[in-house]
Symmetry: C2
Subunit: 653 residues, 2 copies
């Protein structure tokens, strides 16, 4: 643990509690966790904590009032005393961290009573961690923060320092509201398949470290498990022996991990096995696993990321963006209650700008979970500052129909792909911690203001706050997603990345590939016609008003124009600029914004601890180099194609 | 050895000898090799062989007439008897294989006396084989024929079957005239560095298997060896301790391998260490190694493949094509007699079409070796038929100046990067064996007719010949290089390949890279201006008349036009076609030619053994798929850029 960054829980944030007198009422393992937190704070800062009936007076009372499994808590402020009460231990733990996040403000004011509860019962991180290092993808697929917290050298980490690190991780997650972790990659390779059976003990060891923080452990499994592990001749979900095998395997999982959360499955996707091989539907596949989990209270998360990844680029009728909707909407109502369909927020794959997946809102009789990507695969790989709070907030507040926003429609929960590894700063780029924190807080409260969450993160992480530091961090982070969008992906065009690793520009990198990811740029224009009238019909997958808004270039928002329409370079946007001039301008601006953010960061050298400052400064150098490369390649590409000079005469190569 | 293809030495080709009476005169290890060949043939076919003085009459006399190390031999035909005589054992071995290649014709006619000797004393194959599997490059860098013949599992292969395979390889090489093999990759990684010192025994074991076939073994070494192996603080070639270390290391090599050929060095290239680090010249570096080798009769092959591989694509003044000339011509006359400068035949890197390297002919006081690439890195990776004989013949017959051709200027020898691995057919694609054979035969006789060599290869490999089979193979192979050029690289533009592995099209794959490999295509035209008047000046590196021929688009040959000039799509070629129509036409034609060749091959199903026929047929499917991909991507790319429709209205996507 030595040398590991405390992230948003530095000792200092416990000072307001640690200097006061606290009474803790209730018992149970998570109450013990609460006690340990308060007692630790008091040890450091000279306060006092008592359990159960003890003589007063107290500044803070933490009270378990029931024995349920709830996560809600009440925060009250009366008579100079702060009281947190909850009917469930998990609620009490979240209440404690609420007080921690409030800081001194938790002990100010009078006559306040607040009820807090999460919008969703499942707030989950999916780790794409491999047990055995994958020859191409490494220890952590799409990981940019070193190795895995959980796995090393082909085994679960077991050293005391490693387990302490897992506990510290659980504590950070609890402090931002996350309550579930899937511990291995959704692409389940040969070694990882065995976690389900003979290696479940390793998963149980991880679960033991996360349990005191209210976190349930989930496991990614391969649909082919009955064959590769069970020796059966088939994995047909309607085969009785297959169902029996899963039931028995699942019962054994629960013997090892009584509060096990469930399975995550990527089936029939990018080469993974699935029910299609047996002529069965995805509902058949998911329901079989749901049946095995049901007696134990578990859930199957079935990913909707199913598309043809062997598409012919010459074929302009097939549209990958349509795939999830086309595959799954016909199955609405067929999924079991404990089967959750896990849908990526956009129709493609975590590009810096996508419209909302039309699947969300189109399956009213199915529990959907919405999947976000904290790990910055397409957003700078934690070498670039890119705070995703505004993007996620836009997603979660988006109203596919008039009567519900995404945050409400995600009845199956919110999931993010983790951005954490064994890096001392957890996330490689220290400022990428803000993404993890923001995800947890938005998962609790999807309509929360991301700016307020960012303020909270800054106050905690950089406590005690310095106004110049706070303002500087806001300046660096606030617009960083839009900055990244500017120098990479204009007007909804994605995929102009280097194939494979996805870092850095390659405008045609995926243009003639089988991945279904094209921009169709020619000498006259660019973009994908996804209208119903003349294109792939994708726009018609939306409910009104969006189907109409997206159908016409006249109403489609600028930032998604080229996602929905093929436009000439000379087309004039709402902004008054032409498409080509917009491309040039945003790319120049994006680099200028990185330069400015780098200057701001440099100016904070006296108010940020040296190691953290140096790490971020070093990443800014790479971000700037890379942003210039993006600018020059994208601008040169479109200048060479369009022949239109920059209106401001800037250098294009 | 079981299941390994006999290539151009099937038993049948020994029938003319094996059915006759042979007298062998002389002694020595290579004479023993000759004896074993003839005796084996007689065992199979009922003939007879006697050593030294024996009663006649004989049909064939093989006679060692001296004790030198020469490779020349005389072939005579008098009084119904064929006589091969040589003053050196190696000459006698080559004479035997001459008789084998001639077949029955060796025993026909009268009053013939022919003297044969190789044009160059060094005819070498460089194996880019790694001992330890490289995480990116694998066991054999740019290898398309399975694993290494020499190395497996981090060690030299030592099983009897493996050693028999190495001997079989040596025998095949001797039969086409190759006399030197470098056994490891020029990119010398950590494991391979040790072959020079503590692991020289493994090299010696390989050398023992190759020696009976007149083949000397060479080793690629790292310039940093004194540091990484010797523990010295420097590898400065002018440092006395460094020179002493190399002298001692080299002496130990010769203790293990008395006929060791020498070192191959890639220095200051693509990240390899070299003399530049110490402010020394490449002559300093090469001469130090030459001095260490000189007492033992060894040679250092110093590769001239030195260029800036971290070029900024925005910089249009730097020209990678200039690099070898600029680096090395100033050093002419400074290299030791036993230092050979090994120059790739073109200025770039084995593209399907390049002009001759201007270095060749420009260093009259330096021994140059010309390096060709048998392994089909950029020419279809042994999944495509691409017989390189015509390209190599064009290279070797090219006259940089009026008074000498390349074959004559290559006083240091001819080298090819090997295309062989542990594949049962040796070369992955069975027809790629023709490249290996052709290289050996052209290295012996650079002005030889490649068509005649191809006939020879067909007669040997497919003995006994069937006229339909022979004609079919000629049809498939004859034009295959130009066919490959047609569907890949128009008018001298190279590098439109997928980065990294170099298989398949990616028109912009290297366009914005640091590798110095650009085509500068825009909406108006394409090509690199390398003229003296307005471009990088590269054309001026040639002697007259070539400097003038290449300087102007009016005189530059069509097939190199875009290598030397940036031309508009509408420019009319000598052929009468525009540049853009040429691009379209050649890409359609190239695919049609592949389709035709595939049909020819299919028609040979009854006259080719099933395994070989099936392997080639399977590769033709991939070649055709890939050729269509090339056609469609290249045509689409240039149509999207130029906006010019195909004059014949064919489908462009």
């Amino acid at each position: 643990m030595q040398g590991v960054d405390p992230a948003w829980l530095p000792d200092e944030v416990f000072r307001p509690i640690g200097t006061r007198r606290t009474l803790l009422r209730g018992s149970g393992p998570l109450v013990d966790t609460v006690y340990a937190e308060v007692a630790g704070a008091c040890d450091r800062f000279g306060g006092r904590v008592e359990r159960d009936a003890s003589p007063g007076p107290f500044d803070l009372v933490l009270e378990l009032t029931g024995a349920d499994d709830g996560e809600a808590f009440a925060y009250e402020r009366h008579d100079g005393r702060t009281t947190v009460s909850a009917s469930g231990q998990r609620g009490l733990l979240y209440g404690l961290f609420h007080v921690v996040r409030l800081g001194e403000a938790a002990f100010r004011g009078e006559h306040r009573t607040e009820q807090h509860s999460p919008a969703s019962p499942l707030r989950m991180l999916d780790h794409w961690d491999n047990v055995a290092v994958h020859p191409v993808m490494g220890q952590v697929e799409r990981g940019y923060a070193g190795g895995s917290l959980f796995w090393a050298n082909g085994r679960a980490r077991g050293e005391p320092a490693d387990l302490a690190r897992v506990r510290a991780y659980g504590r950070l997650l609890a402090a931002c509201g996350i309550n579930a972790v899937a511990v291995n990659n959704v692409n389940v390779h040969a070694t990882e398949a065995h976690l389900l059976t003979d290696r479940i003990g390793e998963v149980a060891d991880i679960a033991s470290e996360l349990r005191p923080f209210g976190i349930r452990t989930h496991l990614s499994v391969t649909f082919a498990a009955p064959i590769v592990l069970g020796g059966l001749p088939t994995a047909d979900p309607l085969d009785e022996a297959v169902g029996a095998w899963w039931a028995e395997a699942t019962a054994r999982v629960y013997e090892a991990i009584p509060d096990f959360g469930g399975y995550v499955v990527k089936a029939d996707s990018e080469g993974r096995p699935g029910p299609f091989a047996y002529g069965r539907s995805h509902a058949d596949g998911a329901n079989m696993l749901a049946a095995a989990l049901e007696p134990h209270g578990g859930t199957v998360h079935w990913r909707a990321f199913v598309y043809n990844h062997r598409q012919d680029w010459r074929d302009r009728t097939t549209d990958r963006a349509r795939a999830a909707y086309d595959h799954f909407v016909p199955l609405d109502g067929e999924f079991a209650d404990n089967a959750v369909l896990q849908v990526k927020h956009g129709p493609m794959d975590f590009q810096v700008r996508e419209p909302l997946s039309p699947l969300i809102g189109a399956m009213p009789r199915t529990r959907l979970a919405v999947e976000l990507q904290a790990t910055q695969e397409y957003t700078g790989q934690q070498r670039h500052v890119c705070w995703l709070g505004p993007m996620w907030s836009e997603v979660l507040r988006f109203r596919p129909e008039a009567d519900a926003c995404v945050g409400e429609l995600a009845r199956g929960g919110l999931v993010a792909v983790s951005n954490v590894g064994d890096d001392p700063f957890w996330t490689g780029h220290p400022l990428a911690q803000a993404n993890l924190f923001t995800f947890g807080r938005l998962a609790w409260e999807p309509d929360g203001d991301p700016g307020r969450i960012l303020d909270e993160w800054i106050r905690l992480t950089f406590a005690p706050g310095d106004p110049r530091l706070h303002a500087g961090l806001r300046a660096v982070l606030d617009g960083s997603w839009r900055t990244y969008e500017k120098y990479t992906a204009p007007l909804g065009v994605g995929w102009m990345v280097q194939p494979g690793h996805h870092y850095g520009p390659s405008v045609d990198g995926y243009e003639y590939s089988p991945w279904g990811t094209y921009h169709f740029a020619d000498r006259d224009g660019i973009g994908v016609d996804r209208s119903v009238a003349t294109g792939t019909g994708y726009a018609g997958q939306y409910a009104k008003p969006w189907a109409e808004v997206y159908e016409s270039p006249d109403t489609c928002p600028d930032e998604l124009l080229l996602f929905f329409h093929h436009m000439s370079y000379g087309h004039v946007l709402r902004s008054g600029k032409t498409v080509i001039q917009h491309i040039y301008d945003t790319h120049f601006e994006g680099v200028e914004e990185v330069e400015a953010a780098r200057e701001v960061w440099a100016s904070l050298v006296d108010v940020v601890d040296p190691a953290r400052h140096a790490r971020v400064a070093e990443r800014f150098e790479e971000q700037l180099r890379s942003a210039r490369e993006w600018r020059d390649q994208v601008n040169s590409y479109f200048f060479r194609k369009s022949g239109v000079p920059d209106a401001h005469g800037r250098r294009i190569y």
